[in-house]
């Protein structure tokens, strides 16, 4: 008789109220006289640090809707409004939400409805991020600012792109934020966010150490649901508190030898590439957990500033500091998201987290993470003998997720790992 594996989830319930509060405050912001900015890509911080302005982070909203099971209805509204299915589901989610507001279409969960924004900020990290801002701008006439944020293909491209992005932020974005919000951009606010955020990231990294342990004490899924405090709720006291609690739980597990997988820990340690499937986290982990398989690391969740030492809240030019983090800091997001930097990053994660196999989640409507995935799998398999498979799906659109296809590929990966162990 085989071992009956059971997941022992960490208590991440603290994140729900924190996330709900964030979106509730955004819904209430207008009533309090604040202006609202919708931001795609990592430039939301400039609105976030501005007094009299509340900031909506578009990917965070998609994760929120997906995680709360509200995405399908909004995506249907988008389709009714004319959107075509092969566009980015985050794009459709936002245009669907705007259509619901403008048309007054009924919605079963009012939490998906946010106030009409005063400013759209497209950080054109992915080219499609600007497309949805453009669409909203054309349809609803909301002021929009788009900033080019190219993902760098080569190391040597980073400094010149950084310079360009900094110039755009200073010349175009900040003046627009100041004009719309009616308040001066506050550098001290930004420094304070960075200070608190850095402290939180240091604690978060201590938590990551427990994923390196064999057996692991928690899973990447537990971390996935814990990203919001690091990213779009950065610098808030409750974010810090959340990670303090998480670390305490992990230390307790370590003291009592309680692994993430009962009875004796995981059989397969997996790497997960690409977005997290926000609306299907439960569905996916249920395909892995009973086999004793858990994801322990991945490029996307580890892109949120894995090295707090890189963050300098006292930098002379704090506006530039954020761009430096994105482009020329040693672990810059805008390099590791590209295929070249990505491959180096994956290799490092595989070694640091002692991975047995790789799952590359390929979104049918978002190609940002798909770039080079098949190449990376082939190359890593050749170099290290670690097998990998691609699974196709979407982060929030259930019409694009085929459970059988995914289950078959996960099982095939686990069988390959077994075969190589023999």
């Amino acid at each position: 008789m085989g071992i009956e594996y059971k997941l022992n989830r960490l208590d991440t319930s603290g994140v729900g109220p924190l996330v709900d509060r964030h979106w509730r405050e955004l819904r209430e912001a207008k009533e309090k006289g604040q202006k609202i900015a919708w931001s795609s890509g990592p430039l939301f911080i400039y609105a976030y640090a501005t007094p009299n302005m509340a900031s909506h982070f578009m990917a965070g909203y998609a994760a929120y809707c997906g995680g709360r099971g509200m995405a399908d209805e909004v995506l249907e509204a988008a389709e009714r409004y004319g959107e075509l299915r092969d566009t980015c589901s985050y794009h459709r989610l936002h245009t669907g939400m705007m259509a619901i507001i403008r048309k007054g279409w009924p919605i079963s969960d009012e939490r998906v409805v946010l106030p009409i924004p005063d400013l759209l900020i497209a950080g054109r990290f992915c080219t499609e991020m600007s497309h949805y801002m453009e669409g909203i701008h054309r349809r609803f006439g909301i002021r929009a600012v788009t900033i080019e944020l190219p993902v760098c293909r080569k190391n040597e491209d980073r400094p010149r792109v950084e310079k360009y992005v900094t110039a755009q932020v200073k010349d175009i974005l900040i003046p627009a934020i100041e004009e719309v919000s009616g308040s001066k951009f506050n550098e001290e606010n930004m420094r304070e966010i960075f200070r608190k955020w850095k402290e939180t990231c240091i604690i978060r990294n201590k938590c990551w150490e427990f994923l390196k342990r064999k057996p692991a004490l928690w899973t990447m899924w537990d971390y996935g649901v814990s990203i919001a405090p690091i990213f779009y709720a950065m610098g808030k006291p409750e974010s810090h508190e959340y990670y303090v609690n998480l670390l305490a739980q992990l230390e307790e597990r370590a003291a009592k030898n309680i692994p993430a997988v009962h009875p004796d820990g995981e059989k397969y340690r997996l790497y997960w590439d690409g977005w997290l499937p926000w609306a299907f986290l439960g569905k996916f982990i249920r395909m892995m957990g009973p086999h004793g398989a858990i994801p322990v690391t991945g490029r996307y969740p580890w892109e949120f500033f894995p090295h707090p030492e890189d963050i300098n809240p006292e930098a002379d030019d704090i506006v530039h500091e954020w761009i430096r983090l994105l482009y020329t800091s040693p672990n810059a997001l805008a390099y590791h998201d590209g295929p070249w930097g990505g491959e180096e990053h994956v290799e490092k994660l595989l070694q640091d987290y002692s991975v047995d196999g790789m799952l590359f989640f390929s979104s049918k409507t978002c190609r940002l993470w798909n770039l080079g995935q098949q190449e990376i799998i082939a190359n890593i398999e050749r170099k290290y003998g670690i097998p990998g498979v691609v699974i196709d799906g979407d982060m929030i659109d259930s019409t694009m997720v085929s459970e059988d296809q995914i289950r078959t590929r996960i099982e095939a990966l686990l069988e390959t790992i077994d075969a190589r162990r023999r």
Binding site: D86, E128, H131, I172, N379
Partner: protein
């Protein structure tokens, strides 16, 4: 006229053989430029032959191991050609990776599997206001020029760049004249032939293409055309980056419609906007790139509407409707399309969208849509 058209058809019927032969005949290196915005003039001025990369003529096979099935046709087809060794005659490539996400696939894959002697990645920015964007675009082109100089070991002077721009501008002018005649005498060329004319210009050295066009124009001007029957004029819009299947173009005409003008990439978009030759030639190329019209959905232009441009073209040509050709999995077009469609509805303009894939499974679905569209606008 038939002689010129047959020469053009020869080029486009087997672009692989043509370009490989061209390399031998001219004894020059071939640089593949990914559509749609690489300024070919810079490559030309480096005494290399720029050719615009095309969607292949075979179903994707080995390429499936490198790119997902939900990438667009030209992405999958080009990668397939590259990994199957069909592009061995190319010496280098230029990829502008900011026009869409999928373009970002190529440099990585090519470096691994093709190892071109020359490869350049351009980050041309979308058209957003402000000096930083213009400055950055200029720096990109300067770096492009330097990379070509390093590759060839020869400097590109301003004069040689201006000379190349002149040749390209002449080509644009000649193509514009072909279109003018076509607008006046739409029956003079089949839509397929027009696409072949534009496409051949992307493959041939522009000097050679200019010669062909000069002769073609002369013949077109001389030729009088009598319409066989009343046909319904329609404007084709879209089909970014790649050729439209000729079968679909034939189908449109078989159904009683005729195309007096278009807004296709392998069409009027390719030769729109001559480069202004006064002053710094690289700055002039930047100016052309940053020109907002014809609106390209990859460039983030917000203050004019693609729908307005298409409607104007339709009305200028006394056409009855618009056929949008959307390449499946083309995000820039797909994201824009709902607004384009809304504009058509708002203005009461008949419009139909057909979706194009690299491998046509069946033309029947397309035929049904087009047939019903033709009946709606013209009562055929």
């Amino acid at each position: 006229m038939e002689r010129v058209l047959s020469k053009i058809a020869e080029v486009t019927s087997d672009p692989y053989a043509y370009v490989a032969g061209l390399k031998e005949r001219k004894n020059k290196k071939i640089i593949g430029c990914f559509p749609m915005h690489v300024p070919e003039e810079v490559v030309h001025a480096a005494d290399l032959i720029p050719v615009v990369i095309w969607r292949g003529n075979e179903p994707v096979t080995w390429g499936h191991a490198h790119v997902p099935p939900y990438d667009c046709g030209i992405t999958r087809s080009f990668v397939d050609d590259a990994v199957r060794g069909k592009l061995g005659f190319m010496d280098g490539f230029v990829f502008h990776i900011r026009q869409c996400l999928q373009a970002g696939e190529f440099p990585f894959i090519m470096e691994r599997h093709f190892k071109p002697a020359y490869q350049k990645v351009l980050y041309l920015p979308a058209i957003y206001p402000g000096d930083p964007t213009r400055d950055f675009a200029l720096k990109e082109l300067e770096s492009f020029k330097t990379s070509l100089e390093d590759f060839t070991g020869k400097m590109i002077s301003d004069d040689s760049l201006k000379k190349s721009i002149e040749i390209y501008n002449k080509n644009r002018g000649l193509m514009e004249r072909v279109y003018e005649i076509r607008r006046a005498k739409p029956e003079i060329l089949k839509a397929k032939e027009v696409m072949q004319i534009v496409w051949s210009g992307m493959l041939m050295p522009k000097e050679d293409h200019n010669e062909l066009l000069t002769e073609l124009i002369k013949r077109m001007e001389e030729k009088s055309v009598k319409a066989q029957r009343e046909r319904i004029k329609v404007i084709l819009v879209g089909c970014l980056c790649q050729t439209l299947q000729f079968d679909i173009l034939d189908l449109i005409e078989d159904l009683g419609m005729i195309v007096p003008d278009d807004d296709l990439y392998i069409g009027s978009r390719y030769f729109a906007n001559p480069v202004n030759l006064n002053g710094n030639p690289l700055k002039a190329l930047v100016d052309r790139y940053l020109t907002k019209s014809p609106l390209c959905p990859t460039k983030g232009v917000w203050d004019i509407h693609w729908g307005d441009e298409a409607i104007k073209k339709m009305r200028d040509n006394d056409a009855k409707g618009i056929i949008s050709v959307r390449v499946k999995y083309c995000p820039p077009h797909t994201c824009y399309y709902p607004d384009f469609r809304s504009k058509m509805v708002e203005e009461g303009v008949p419009e139909v969208m057909i979706e194009m894939e690299h491998e046509i499974i069946s033309l029947e679905g397309v035929k049904t849509r087009l047939q019903s569209f033709a009946e709606t606008i013209g009562g055929v």
